[in-house]
Amino acid sequence: MLQNIYDYLLLWSLFSIWLIVLINKLLATGGFISYLKHNKKREIFVPDEELPFVSVLIPAHNEAKVIGKTLEAIINLDYDKKKLEIIVINDNSSDDSAEILQNIKENHPERHIKIINTDSITGGKGKSNALNIGFEQSKGSLLAIYDADNTPEKNALKELVFAIIKDKKAGAVIGKFRCRNKNRNLLTKFINIEGIYFQWMAQAGRWQLFKLSTIPGTNFVIRRSVLDQLGGWDTGAITEDMEISFRIYRLGYHIRFCPRSTSWEQEPEIISVWLKQRKRWVKGNYYVLIKNFKNLFDRKTGPVRFDLFYFFAIYVLFLASSIASDLIFFLGFGGFIQTSIMGYSLLLWFMAYILFVLSVLIALSTEKGELSFSNIGITLLMYFTYSKLWAFVAVIGFFSFVNDSLFKREITWYKTERF
């Protein structure tokens, strides 16, 4: 049957791809169970007088376009205003963010709003550093973090706080994020679908199967005691959210997923901005993968090992095997090499495609109004366009990561351009 090295290579790539598809199928099923549970029971309400004091941190760097609306949305959150402190860290901005923020603060003298303006000496060293500055000046027993482009729904914070009060083992509780500008163009429509899909598979699915979810960088609350133990955010990390999630799990806490809390954020509207943002995420994942690789076999790491394994499977196994199988396919097609087991490859591809489309549809079916005919059409397209872009990003992200590690680039704000 297996006649030469290419056959063995093909078989290996088949197993890797099949394994990834299997994992994604399990995650989709986990997401389904979580969805059923979510629809069945209602978390208990906590009366207003028992709610803890919360500090909301908003790190911002040149965010004049969006920061005003964000701060207004936070002020309008449904939460006892005596128990809510809002800290905006306007970090080394060169635009008029400071004036906009000051104006809003003066319009709401009855609220606890603190605005910290820094320059290139006192700050300007990235989001982690800005969060640490805000953390030092905050006094809440819980900290909530919102990115500068977010519009949380009115009940978003309260739901997170309910969930963390109820769950003593939760170091942090995360909510959902959705795409606010989804109707702008095809790219934002893709990102919207991707976001819903990610929420279903990665957050709800992982939470259901392994009690595991990771902080998405915005719309989450974290205990002050946990942050104290961690010593704040890691200023060397590229994706500080992923990094801190891993450390929370190593402390023995878990991160709970709370789908009742939703925040709407602005997504990139042009491809170059998208590429830059995603390249950073991929680099961050490599950073976490390398930093934590030794923990893959350490029991103390807990469920995070699944994530490490998953990253490894996606970024190493999947990437290498799809490249290998494509190469062998083309070389075999051109008559350069001989293989004896080619018949299955179309079927494997077809299965992966249909399962991808159905997994996206299952996620869309849970959000009101998202399972429309136009979104189904976009999903059918997505596999050939948006997903291919991801493969491209994975490759350039890898080279950029290697480049950065070799030349020790300094960490600064990786800013996503706003619209």
């Binding site: 078989l11 199928k25 989709a28 969805y35 179309l346």
Partner: protein
Amino acid sequence: MSRMDTKISKRIDLIHILLTAMFFSLIIAYSLMGLNEDAMNIFLVFIVMVGSIVGYYTTITAGILYSIIYIFSYASFHIFLNISRGIPVSVDVYFWMITVPLFTLAFAYYGGLIRNIQEQNSNLKKENAELVVIDKETGLLSSQTFFNELQAYMKINERYHIEVYLMLVKIKYENEVIKILGESKYNRIVNEISNAINSLLREEDRKYILRDANMFGLILLSNKDGGRYIKNRIKEMINNINFKDDIAINKIKLEVLVGLVPYRSNEISSPYEFFKMAEKDLEFDV
């Protein structure tokens, strides 16, 4: 019909035609591709049917999950056969991978639409029932406004010091009466009693039929001991009702229980309490 409703019924019409066409295509494909030669295909038709039922009776989400599990297992099985036994992957494998999710999704969509109009229908019925103030059969007031008006009369008493009575009237041994005579004759009795009550009381007294509790509720304005007089008159009248043409009803001795409580603002704080006291008074009417 509103625009929303026509939109839904149009969609139901469309999906119905689509489903018929899909079954037609399935049959044509079955014979064209020669699928009847392999017994495995019968089994796959069965999977399509189960998918349709799962889709129709649950949600679109569950239907998709069903398709995902099926496609993964089916395709993995054929990949295994291809590699280990060298069995080539034929076109019908792809055919079944598309057919199952298509049928499941179409039926799930259909079921969703049907559920949607069922829900609308039951909501409308409920809203409609809440709007009915006058009981169709007896012409008495229905229970919807009973507690609201009771509260209003309690307020009148506090302000003008007019005696307010709540009287409840119930047929004695009503379960047995229903068992012996049946629902329709029981309803006749109820109608006769309401006629009697209507003729006896004045226009300004409020007369309710509380169908959920199988009772008549009467709110009376009267001076002292007026209530007791009415109580006796009602019992007497009902004892004397003559169901001329119906011997079966005449044979059983029809009696009613009457509970009567005057409103005392220092003892009763809510209309519900008032009602409960009158209900308790029924127990003393033996």
